[in-house]
Structure formats: structure tokens, C-alpha cells
């Protein structure tokens, strides 16, 4: 009987772990953070912007270190080629070859869209570690694209965030937020993000293709496609300095 009890307890633990039913909202959010964030990574991505006048594709290479440092260089099309962006903590700098000036993006400029996409500079400036800035609570489980999901409701821990609340559909097995809705304090829906294709790299699952839609903007949304990504590679420290923008 004792053996049976131990067996049942072990079985329950295994089942609970597999289906994640014992996880709290905060633990699920931590898993999402851990899945997304790495010590550093270098990626080449495409931004396919579906505007009212047609589709444009922008290619960029990004170097990211932790949550505070990121450097992006635009590779295509010709008009954007050579434009560079540097994020250092809560500061964002941009350099355009035509003007040869390093300009800090601040204030209302942060709300502008990045290269005409449905993402704003603010989206890139927020702390990507969601557990740092949001309180999570669990809602009734759901499925998205045929995959069982936890539904998390996030509420801002502090004032001044771009999005007061978010709703995440987190894949129960891969801990990827397959769908996300971002809301203003008034409850107005501001952004919808969907992961439409994923890939496995090492032990983590990562989005290959994401769809971003600014709910307040006309147009058919923006697709982000990761062409390649390498985690935990060595990035030279000089890259995260303002002088590297002009190189």
C-alpha cells in the first residue's frame, strides 16, 4: 500500500509536470522569459511590412547582449542599407549614412513605427524580461493553432509602461507565447502578435515567423522572420558603443 502511494505520488508528479498543471502563473512567465532570453545572440531577420500601398521587405542583422544592449544594422533595401541602431539600457541611438549624425531617439519619437512596421521603437526599449515588469495571473486554458496553451493575464507592476496589460497564450509544452494581445490602461487593444512558425535550437524553442499587427494602424500587419540565429556567441564589446555606429 505504501509502495502504491509512493508510485501514485510519483505518477501524479510526472503527469503534473508534463501537463504543467502545478505551475503558477509566475513560474510559467519565468519559463517564457528563460526560453526567449539568452546571454547573447546574433540574428539575421527579415521584416515584411504589408502596407496599404504594397509590401516591403527589410533585412537586418542584430547583436544582442543580455537585456540592456543591442546593436542593429540594416542590410536591405538600398534606401535603408547602412542605417544602424544602438540600444544601451534605456537609451536608443540611430545613425543614418545620408546625414552622418548620431541621433538619440527619445520622447514621442519612441512611439514611431520601426521602418514603417507595426512595431514601435518603444517595443524594443521595454525590459524583455516580462517577470520584471508584469504581475501574472492564470486564466482558463485554451488552444491556439491546435496547441494547448496556458492563458496568462499580465498587469503592469509599475507606471509608464507602453502596455498596461497583456494576454498571453503560452504553449504548454514549448513555453512560447503563441499569441499575445497588448492593451492600454483604458482596455483598448493596441497590438496583436502571433507566432506562426517555430524552430528548435539547442534545448529551446524559438519563433521562426511572427506576425505583428498594430490594432490602431491600417495595413495588413508585419511579419518578422528569423533567417538565422546563433546563441551565446562572442560579441566584441566595442559594438555596444556610440562610436561603432559610424564604423
Amino acid at each position: 500500500m505504501k509502495k502504491l502511494s509512493v508510485f501514485l505520488a510519483i505518477m501524479f508528479f510526472c503527469v503534473a509536470t508534463v501537463f504543467g498543471s502545478d505551475l503558477t502563473a509566475q513560474q510559467i512567465l519565468e519559463k517564457v522569459d528563460n526560453n526567449f532570453l539568452a546571454e547573447n545572440h546574433v540574428s539575421v531577420s527579415l521584416m515584411i511590412i504589408k502596407g496599404r500601398r504594397g509590401t516591403r521587405t527589410i533585412k537586418a542583422k542584430s547583436w544582442t547582449q543580455g537585456v540592456d544592449k543591442a546593436f542593429t544594422e540594416y542590410l536591405a533595401p538600398a534606401r535603408e542599407k547602412g542605417t544602424k541602431m544602438l540600444k544601451l539600457k534605456d537609451e536608443l541611438w540611430i545613425w543614418a549614412p545620408e546625414a552622418d549624425r548620431v541621433i538619440r531617439i527619445a520622447g514621442h519619437m519612441l512611439r514611431q513605427s520601426v521602418m514603417g512596421s507595426d512595431a514601435s521603437y518603444e517595443d524594443f526599449m521595454e525590459d524583455p524580461r516580462l517577470t520584471n515588469i508584469y504581475k501574472a495571473s492564470l486564466a482558463e486554458a485554451d488552444t491556439f493553432a491546435g496547441r494547448p496553451c496556458y492563458v496568462l493575464k499580465l498587469t503592469a507592476k509599475k507606471e509608464g509602461l507602453s502596455y498596461y496589460s497583456r494576454k498571453l497564450w503560452v504553449d504548454k509544452e514549448r513555453f512560447l507565447p503563441l499569441k499575445e494581445e497588448r492593451y492600454a490602461k483604458s482596455g483598448k487593444l493596441l497590438k496583436i502578435i502571433k507566432i506562426t512558425e517555430v524552430f528548435k535550437t539547442g534545448k529551446r524553442w524559438y519563433p521562426k515567423r511572427m506576425f505583428y499587427k498594430d490594432a490602431l494602424k491600417s495595413g495588413k500587419g508585419t511579419e518578422f522572420v528569423i533567417e538565422s540565429i546563433k546563441f551565446n556567441v562572442k560579441i566584441p564589446p566595442y559594438l555596444f558603443t556610440k562610436s561603432s555606429l559610424r564604423r
Binding site: 511590412i49 502596407g51 516591403r56 543614418a96 545620408e98 546625414a99 549624425r101 538619440r104 513605427s113 514603417g116
Partner: protein, 424 residues
């Protein structure tokens, strides 16, 4: 009888002076207020036409729907072809392409770092061609405060107040930071060629004027324009003609299913300007009505008092055999004479003050520091042909009406009692 009445008017000042003064004041106010409102309204309409709407404006259908937000992503493309068609088909009009866009002007310090930034409202017009019509329409030569009009690419004009705020001088380099028509970040350097002042708060606060060729490059908008403005060659706005032109153009070129097909709108169809035009038209009638009403009541009252004062005179005239109708008619005739004299004095005074205000005006810039309306800082009156006669309408009408109401008492006099009344 005429001689008797004129002598009466000249010798009995209470019979004429009060009437003439009331009529003169009413006529003066009518003429001055009418001319003032004409001036203010026509200034608003002219400023809007020159800087914003033209006499007609062509945009894409999508742009027209969101024009308040200046959505450059919805601008017209293939503008050369449209301009060619317009110049051939509507050669009696002046056509100018323009781009209206916003952004930041960033001023660097000696090391190239940002010293100061300010939000700019940019207007791109054909600047480099010395014969371009927009140089005249926008009165750029007169508006120039310092420096010169742009002669080369990447040269801009900046409003004098904005330049002072940013500490800019002629020849300084500034960086424009904004978005292309596709939403990408756009960063370009310009040189300040000159400073301008248009005398319109909304423009002078943060205007930047650039050549349309430069703007097309900055905004990634080859052969594009956010709008094409049309002006009649005499620069006089004729609402009916412009509305029918817009209707004909839209029937020929605008396609309902295509949000990027061109759409023309007359000045009065933009930003509620129809209400302004209607208001300007109705002001004359409103002033006449109000002053006729007020002055009639005042003159009616004066007539009643006068009737009591002239009780004896009217009684004697009736006793001598003059009919009540005749007395009544002659009193009206008297009021016509005083009305004309009062109207002439009031109109002359009203015209004189209106002319003065047409030349000098009143500077209201300190009262409207944050105005976004396209209107001149200096409000002026405008004397029109109507100003010369509008004062006579309330002047005469009120005078005659007042006397007619007051004079009704004559018909209530009992001839049988006259001698008894006159015994005193």
C-alpha cells in the same frame, strides 16, 4: 409745406438731432462691423487658400479621408502625369504640387551631438525655379526676413520665430528627423538659407519651407505630392465655379473603388470653410436685422416722446384742416430726411474708421499664442462696395419704422376734442 417742415427740422433741434444721432450711431456700427467681419473672414479664407486648400485641392481619396493627420503614406504618386493633364484640360487655373509633412528639426552642437530639437511643420513647394507660381502665391519675397530664397538643393527656409527659438542663423546646418512615406526613419541634413515670417501664428511658430525635390528625396516619394492645389488665375475665389470644376474633375478622374485615385475638393469643401463663407455672406444681413430692430425701438420711443412734445403742433395742424393721413405722411417724410442725414454721417464715419483699420489692423498675436487656425496675426477690416450702402438700410428702415409706430397716435386724436385740448 416742405419749407415749413425743413425750417422745423433746422430750428427744432430736438426734432432732428436725436434722430440723426441715433441713426448715425447705428449706421456707423453697421458699416464698421460689416467691414470688420468682411476683413477677418476674407483673411481667413485667403490664408487657408494660399497655405492649405487652394481654390481647389487634389489628393488621393484615402488622403482626403484622413487629411487632418497629414498621412503622407497616402500621397499622390505619378504627379507629373496628373499635372500635365491638369495644365492641358484646365489651363485657366494655376496648378502647384505640394507636400505637407511633420518631423523634428535637430540642431547639432560643435561636436555633432544634439544641441536642441523642435517639432517642425514642413511645406514643400517648387522653390528652386524662380518662375514657380508658389513663390508668388506664398509671397515668399515679402515674407523673407533674413537670408535669401533657396538657390541650391538641401537649402531651406525656416520661420523667423522658430529659428530664434532654436538659435539658428543663416548658413547653419540642421538635421530633419522624420519618416518616409513608407514609415522608415528619415534623417537628412539641410542648410538654413533664409528666415521668413508670414504673419500667421500657426505657420510662424514652426514652419519649414523646402523645395519639393528635396522633400521627395527625404520622404522616399519620387514623383509624389501630398496634394496639388489649383488657383484661379485672378486669385479670386468663386465658390460655384470651383465646386463645379471639382465635380467635373471627379467625374472624369476619381474612381470610387480605388482609394489612391485623385479626388478634387473646392476650398469650401475643406475644414468647414463652407461655414466661414456662409457666415461671411450672412453677416451683412445679420447686422442690418439687429440694428434695424434696436434702432427702430429706440426711434419708436423717441417718436412717442416727440409726439407728446409736438402734441399741440399736430393738434393745430389738424384743427386747420390738414388730414390725419397728411400729418402722418409728412412725419414719415421728416424721418426719411433725418434717416438719410444720419446714415450719411454714420456711413462716412464707419468708412473712415474701416479704412483706418484696413490699413493698420489690430495685432492679435499676443491673444492667440497657440492658435492653429490659418489666420493672420493682424486682423483688418475690409471696405467693400457693400460697405458704402449697407448703413443706409438700417438707418432709413429704423427711422421710418420708428416714426410709423410712434405716429399711429395721430389717428387716435378726436377732431371734436381738438379745441378743448387747444384751449390751454
Amino acid at each position: 409745406m416742405m419749407k415749413f417742415l425743413i425750417k422745423g427740422l433746422l430750428r427744432d433741434k430736438t426734432r432732428s438731432l436725436a434722430y440723426i444721432l441715433v441713426v448715425a450711431v447705428g449706421a456707423f456700427l453697421t458699416v464698421f462691423l460689416f467691414s470688420w467681419m468682411q476683413g477677418v473672414m476674407s483673411d481667413i479664407v485667403a490664408a487657408n487658400a494660399k497655405f492649405d486648400t487652394g481654390h481647389v485641392k487634389i489628393t488621393t481619396r484615402a488622403y482626403a479621408d484622413e487629411s487632418e493627420q497629414m498621412p503622407i503614406d497616402l500621397s499622390l504618386l505619378g504627379v507629373s502625369k496628373i499635372m500635365q493633364q491638369l495644365q492641358t484640360k484646365y489651363s485657366n487655373m494655376i496648378w502647384v504640387p505640394r507636400i505637407r509633412f511633420g518631423g523634428l528639426i535637430d540642431v547639432p552642437d560643435k561636436t555633432g551631438n544634439t544641441r536642441i530639437q523642435g517639432p517642425a511643420m514642413a511645406l514643400a513647394v517648387q522653390l528652386l525655379d524662380p518662375n514657380a507660381p508658389d513663390r508668388k502665391i506664398l509671397n515668399l519675397d515679402k515674407a523673407l526676413v533674413s537670408g535669401h530664397l533657396p538657390l541650391h538643393r538641401n537649402e531651406i527656409l525656416i520661420s523667423s520665430d522658430f529659428a530664434n527659438k532654436l538659435g539658428l542663423h543663416i548658413g547653419n546646418m540642421v538635421t530633419y528627423i522624420g519618416s518616409t512615406m513608407y514609415g522608415s526613419m528619415s534623417i537628412y541634413n539641410f542648410t538654413v538659407a533664409g528666415t521668413v515670417r508670414f504673419g500667421i501664428i500657426a505657420l510662424d511658430r514652426r514652419a519649414v519651407i523646402t523645395d519639393i525635390g528635396d522633400a521627395r528625396l527625404v520622404l522616399d516619394m519620387p514623383d509624389g505630392a501630398s496634394e496639388i492645389l489649383g488657383f484661379s488665375k485672378d486669385m479670386q475665389y468663386n465658390d460655384e465655379a470651383m465646386r463645379s470644376l471639382a465635380k467635373a474633375f471627379n467625374a472624369a478622374f476619381s474612381k470610387k473603388g480605388d482609394e489612391f485615385s485623385p479626388k478634387m475638393a473646392a476650398l469650401s469643401e475643406n475644414h468647414g470653410l463652407k461655414e466661414y463663407l456662409d457666415l461671411a455672406d450672412s453677416y451683412g444681413g445679420m447686422f442690418v436685422f439687429v440694428f434695424v430692430l434696436i434702432m427702430s425701438m429706440v426711434l419708436w420711443n423717441s417718436g412717442l416722446i416727440n409726439g407728446i412734445r409736438r402734441y399741440g403742433e399736430i393738434g393745430v395742424r389738424l384743427a386747420m384742416g390738414e388730414t390725419k393721413g397728411s400729418v402722418y405722411r409728412w412725419m414719415i417724410f421728416e424721418s426719411v430726411v433725418t434717416g438719410i442725414i444720419g446714415s450719411i454721417i454714420g456711413t462716412a464715419l464707419g468708412l473712415a474708421i474701416s479704412y483706418y483699420m484696413q490699413v493698420k489692423g489690430i495685432d492679435v498675436s499676443s491673444m492667440l499664442p497657440n492658435s492653429t487656425m490659418m489666420m493672420s496675426n493682424v486682423m483688418r477690416a475690409r471696405v467693400t462696395p457693400t460697405s458704402y450702402y449697407i448703413g443706409f438700410i438700417p438707418g432709413l428702415a429704423a427711422s421710418v419704422l420708428g416714426t410709423m409706430f410712434a405716429g399711429v397716435g395721430i389717428y387716435k386724436r378726436q377732431t371734436a376734442n381738438l379745441f378743448k385740448e387747444l384751449e390751454v
